[in-house]
Amino acid sequence: MVRAWTWILVLGWLGVAGVARADSEEVTLHVEAGPAMVRGEAPVFSSDVTTRPGGAGSVRLTYGLTDLFAAEVSLGGAAAEALEYSMQDGGDLGVGTSHFDLRALRVTAGMTARFGARWIPTATVAAGYQHRLLTGGMLIDDERVLVDYLPTESSSDLLVMAGVGLEYRIDRHFIVGLSAQLVHAFALGGKAFDGVEIPLRVSYSWYPGWFKKQTRERLDD
């Protein structure tokens, strides 16, 4: 059943693609934010994993390289409250639940395929850097009484993202859309991090002519 629904969604996503898919030379500024589900390993005491709802958002800038592909850069972040890992052996502190709040800041670059004109199915891949902070660390006992504060942990990640989305162009400038993206962070010396994000976006498009120059050539040049 799940497989059938997957196919229906994929075909529907492609079905709304228009006959033309040109956004060449067009620049689009996206502002997006939405819920996220993050999954991270405990930074101290163990390698336990927990999953918590949170939020993510970014500002993205895309440039239409061709009618189909747009290059993009993005500056974004993610946050989740109360990532808790139970039954953590804190040594001298005893056994309890470790508690952290996630804050992540990321910079990515990627490529988006845009399959439509009015309705625009999209597929995006991106990679970048993420700096992750686990703040507000504390160890609490079974009665949820603070045992001790834990130091803030930070991690540098190599981030990869992949997502699909559906956008609707309102007019020549404004686009709204929704996407779902998977995020995986390869921690550089830390613990791994994954996320599923569903940002809603509002976009503004225009033709700045950044990479087009007005040149002149004479017959005798």
Partner: protein
């Protein structure tokens, strides 16, 4: 089937004494008239032709019957294609009939509208019967009736065709040469203009409208004193985009420019199907543009929301 023929009378009365000498002149006129009729109308096998007070009948086979209105105020002369061997009337009391070689002259004696008589005319090969009827008004009557054999007409057609053939060939050759001359002249003009001044500019103009029509103005050429602005239209919508007009503005004022667009459309400048592209060229004659000022290419589809405009373009 026959019908009464009326015509306005013109010209002087025909004098009987001069009939003979005039008949040869009229015979020539007959040929000239036939040629003129053929050239003017191109009608090959008409039975009757009306020409004022004169009427020509084309006689098929060995003869035929005809109706002619006559008047006592003037004579009606019948011209035959060969000498008349016999002419007779059914009412010789009221109609005077004279025969002169290939001519028969008829004149009613009494002015009695509606009075009729038969006129039989025989030649070596033809037998013609004419019903004469006195016209109520002299303007309705004919002064001249010409009988021409259809074979003669065919012969005339053939001669005319033969005469026209070299003219036609000459005309075709001249038209062909004219195309070549025009092409050669245009090529010479282009070459001369290129030598005077040639500049290819990358304009890089681009714009789109709410209907997902993308206007691009990639290049413009200055050749001699004229400018050529190339533009494309990409239709990303689901409906055909009809190009109503393409124009050029400078400082907000329209510039006189001709435009060519492909693909073309009936009743419009062009039409771009969904998912397709079209291209056009705006031709700006010399002296239209102010140097140093940018221009704007404006496309309309006849609807307000169809306006497309790419501004800030620097044309060489």
């Amino acid at each position: 089937m026959t019908r009464w023929v009326s015509a306005k009378r013109s010209g002087p009365f025909l004098c009987r004494r001069k009939c003979a000498e005039r008949s040869s002149a009229l015979r020539r006129r007959r040929w000239i008239g036939a040629l003129a009729l053929l050239l003017a109308c191109g009608v090959a096998s008409a039975q009757r032709k009306q020409a004022g007070a004169s009427q020509e009948f084309f006689v098929e086979g060995s003869g035929g019957g005809y109706d002619v209105l006559v008047s006592p105020t003037f004579v009606t002369v019948f011209y035959l294609p060969e000498p008349v061997t016999r002419a007779f009337g059914s009412n010789q009391k009221d109609f005077r009939i004279d025969v002169l070689r290939d001519t028969v002259v008829v004149r009613p004696v009494k002015n009695e509208p509606g009075l009729t008589a038969n006129l039989g005319i025989q030649t070596k090969k033809l037998k013609i019967n004419v019903v004469l009827k006195v016209a109520s008004e002299s303007e309705e009557a004919l002064s001249q009736v010409i009988f021409t054999r259809s074979e003669a007409k065919a012969e005339i057609d053939k001669k005319v065709a033969e005469a026209l053939e070299p003219l036609r060939a000459e005309l075709v050759a001249r038209e062909k040469n004219l195309d070549e001359l025009i092409r050669a002249r245009a090529q010479d003009e282009i070459a001369a203009a290129m030598l005077r001044d040639y500049e290819l500019a990358t304009v890089a103009g681009i714009a789109r409208n709410d209907d997902n029509i993308v206007l691009r103005v990639p290049r413009a050429v200055r050749m001699g004193e004229d400018r050529y602005v190339y533009f494309t239209l990409q239709n990303r919508s689901g409906a055909a985009f009809v190009v109503h007009s393409a124009s050029l503005l400078q400082d907000g004022k329209p510039i006189q420019a001709r435009v060519a667009f492909n693909p073309r459309a009936d009743g419009a400048l062009g039409k771009v199907e969904p998912g397709q592209r079209g291209a056009g060229v705006l031709v700006v004659p010399a002296g239209q543009l102010r140097p140093g000022h940018t221009v704007e290419v404006v496309i309309t589809d006849g609807k307000k929301n169809g306006l497309l405009s790419a501004a800030g373009l620097r044309i060489p």
